[in-house]
Symmetry: C2
Subunit: 170 residues, 2 copies
């Protein structure tokens, strides 16, 4: 038989691969496994899994349980269409500002209630705050992920329209 091949897999250090090309190759090879693992877990345990990845070059790669897949594919395409646009820092959007304000209000509510005689309410408020903060954290995370993908200008456009809509409905 022909042993055309090389030395086989060797242990490598878990450091950033210097060469950009080598990095791309490594990524190409590992991409498959990266998708496969969560898919396996999902199939075996029925868990809902989602993984999103952004390379330093700004490309994205992701895997999600059944229902997310199409959405992600779509997102992929979209990224390619807009690959020329550069990333820009994005200032706050009113939606997230609203949430930030909300956090403050809940916090103030919590403080005010701290000295009251309704421990149950205090407990509920604390939990609400905690849950809200977790929720906020997630939105922030997503916001940051998106930050790298949607140019500021276009994101601001979206924000503006959102603001208009909010005013109209109030």
């Amino acid at each position: 038989m022909d042993k055309r091949g090389g030395k086989g897999s060797q242990k490598i250090e878990l450091k950033l691969i210097e060469s950009k090309e080598a990095r791309t190759v490594a990524f190409s090879k590992r991409k498959h496994g990266l998708d496969k693992k969560p898919k396996e877990y999902s199939n075996l345990t029925g868990a809902d899994i989602d993984s999103i990845l952004f390379t330093q070059a700004g490309k994205s790669h992701s895997y999600g349980s059944p229902s997310v897949e199409k959405v992600i594919d779509k997102f992929h395409e979209l990224k390619q269409n807009n690959s020329q646009q550069n990333h820009t820092d994005m200032s706050k959007t009113n939606v997230f500002e609203a949430f930030e304000d909300l956090r403050k209000e809940v916090q103030a509510f919590k403080k005010k209630d701290l000295g009251s005689e309704l421990p149950t309410d205090k407990y509920m408020l604390e939990n609400r705050l905690k849950q809200f903060e977790a929720y906020k954290s997630r939105l922030d995370k997503i916001k940051n992920q998106i930050k790298g993908d949607v140019p500021a200008e276009q994101f601001n456009f979206i924000s503006e329209v959102a603001l208009k809509l909010e005013k109209m409905s109030s």
Copy 2:
């Protein structure tokens, strides 16, 4: 030497493991690898990776590039504190309704512009719409993830406060 062990790894089907216990065991064993893979990718290629997982039991497990870790840990703790509360179906929240409305408006805008004489604008609008839809998809995904974790009642409370804030600021 002592061969205490068993038959070693056997190929298994990628189907949902029937026994709940066996499922838990499988998850425990695989959890490590699930975290490790993306971590490796992240280290090797410098990519920003994040993976979030929700078991059917409603527990969450996740890995994220450096900065996300703390937030996730916090979320984990929080989940444990509130593990008694059951999940409930959640109706729409005004924030996401606003985004839904926005989508419609942009779509209407797009349609109206379709017959115009400004192809550049058309193109821009199409891209904006696409980007917005991707953004919306992500938010929806997160919303659905949260849906399984935050009881409807408490989420609605948050929504109400958010609505008040929006009115106040307009």
